[in-house]
Amino acid sequence: MTKRLMRGSHVLGEAAVRAGCRFYFGYPITPQNEVPEYMSARLLEVGGTFVQAESEVASINMVMGASMAGARVMTTSSSPGISLKQEGISYLAGLELPAVIANMMRGGPGLGNIAPAQGDYFQATRGGGHGDYRCIVLAPASCQELCDLTFRAFDLADKYRNPVMILGDGMMGQMMEPVEFPEAIDPASLPVKDWILTGAAGRPQRTILSLLLDPKVLEAHNYKLTRKYDAITRAEQDWETYLCEDARLVVVAFGTAARIAKGAIKRVREMGIKVGLFRPKTLWPFPYQPLGELARATRHLLAFEMNSGQMVEDVRLAAEGQGEVHFYGRPGGVIPTPDEVAHQISHYYYGAGLDQAAAVARRA
């Protein structure tokens, strides 16, 4: 298969179409306008539907409708636009409707700026909208992974009847890398969903609703969702480790920040600093257990994020007090350099005496 050099936003669009997505509803916002641009042309070629809605709120409700009718459907936006979609995402979760939502994060809060940032980690992993629910959150770190995780997002959404969020950032959307796309899936070949609303002629009536006025009925629904979230947590955690075998310090980072951290780690490894990288690919469910094992083995974790400290809370939960968790971040859309992160690593490494064999031996 030949490689194609494409920007992240276009990769996302192409991967969605190949994964069987035939409906896209969105509203423009920088830095992800290339997604609707791409989808507006591409969906036409495969007989799909593209609607530039009148607002983000309208677009997420269109997603809801297409999902109820059984389609693979996607919407994309960037931070302020994703905030506007939160009510709809809560409804998707409550109604147990599959949908893929991509957030190419930009600097915030408020209107912020259009530079890449990771300030929506809490919003993505803690719900964002109201009520007791979870979104599956996938964090790609390269254009190829963006392609692969887009396929997985549609599969997970259908498998669990749950909204799935792809959490990228402006850099991931604008960056170009070579990508090999898997063969396209024919939407007609996908399993028929036995719960969708397609007209009740000749079969019993179906209803999909999230208004459950009787607290006991809603409680039962909430527990049903909880059991589903537990099943997702057990089955779907994904992560990457890099040079962790002999590491005395492990950097924890996701998405774009993980790429920058990898550059920093390569740099300091040449100086003999024994540092590795733990990169969660699923932010929810967060891979607490494997990171916890690393925390117990190394006792020193450094969370690095392009925000002022959000994922670091999950890192602390994973460590369960077994070792020290430090944080370095650049909020506001500043793109940190590998050199800058390398300085943070070496500062912490030598400061904690991790170059001293005795200190490491004492730990064991």
């Binding site: 259009i114 960056m175 070579p178 790429r259 920058i260 550059g263 780690i265």
Partner: protein, 184 residues
């Protein structure tokens, strides 16, 4: 082999296209590549830049702390990027538009008057492709033929006449850079 390059100039000079051509050509020749454009509220006539990393290994960071080479198409970019290039690195300068007095002695400065050369070719807009020819000669990254082939896949080679002109522009740029390096 890993080469980290930054291309910078006015919006409209084809700065992003230079980076794209480098990334595409390198990919076609089996290299790993990342292409990262600086984006923002960019306007025609404002400044534009992109970072391209080409490597035989997996590329860790698409962000370059200290690039090996900066390709500078205008004066504002010179100020911004001459300080970033690593010690011993290269500054490839469009000497038609850019002052070549550089305050660093640890850089290999290569002045090539690409805007003038493009004008002589009869197409001012080909200055970026002339510069890419110089880039190939200076870095020794791949060969001119690889770039000539890749041109056909871009907007620089959609029409046969434009493709022919741009292939010529690559040669003109490479020859000028070899002269500047004293190799001819």
């Amino acid at each position: 082999m890993t080469l980290k390059s930054v291309f910078a100039g006015f919006g409209g000079q084809g700065v992003l296209m230079m980076g794209y051509l480098l990334a595409l050509t390198s990919m076609r020749r089996g290299k790993n590549v990342t292409y990262l454009p600086a984006y923002g509220a960019e306007v025609r006539g404002g400044t534009a830049n992109c970072t391209v990393v080409v490597s035989d290994e997996e590329i860790a960071s698409p962000v370059a702390s200290n690039p090996d080479i900066a390709v500078v198409m205008n004066n504002p970019s010179l100020m911004k990027f001459s300080n970033l290039v690593r010690s011993g690195g290269t500054l490839l300068v469009n000497s038609s538009l850019v002052e070549t007095k550089i305050g660093r002695a640890d850089l290999n400065v290569v002045p090539v008057p690409v805007s003038d050369l493009a004008h002589e070719l009869g197409e001012d807009r080909s200055a970026n492709v002339v510069m890419m020819g110089a880039f190939v000669a200076v870095t020794g990254l791949l060969d001119l033929d690889a770039f000539k082939e890749a041109l056909a896949e871009t907007n620089l080679g959609k029409k046969p006449k434009v493709l022919e002109l741009n292939r010529k522009a690559l040669e003109v740029g490479a020859a000028a850079a070899r002269r500047a390096l004293g190799k001819e």
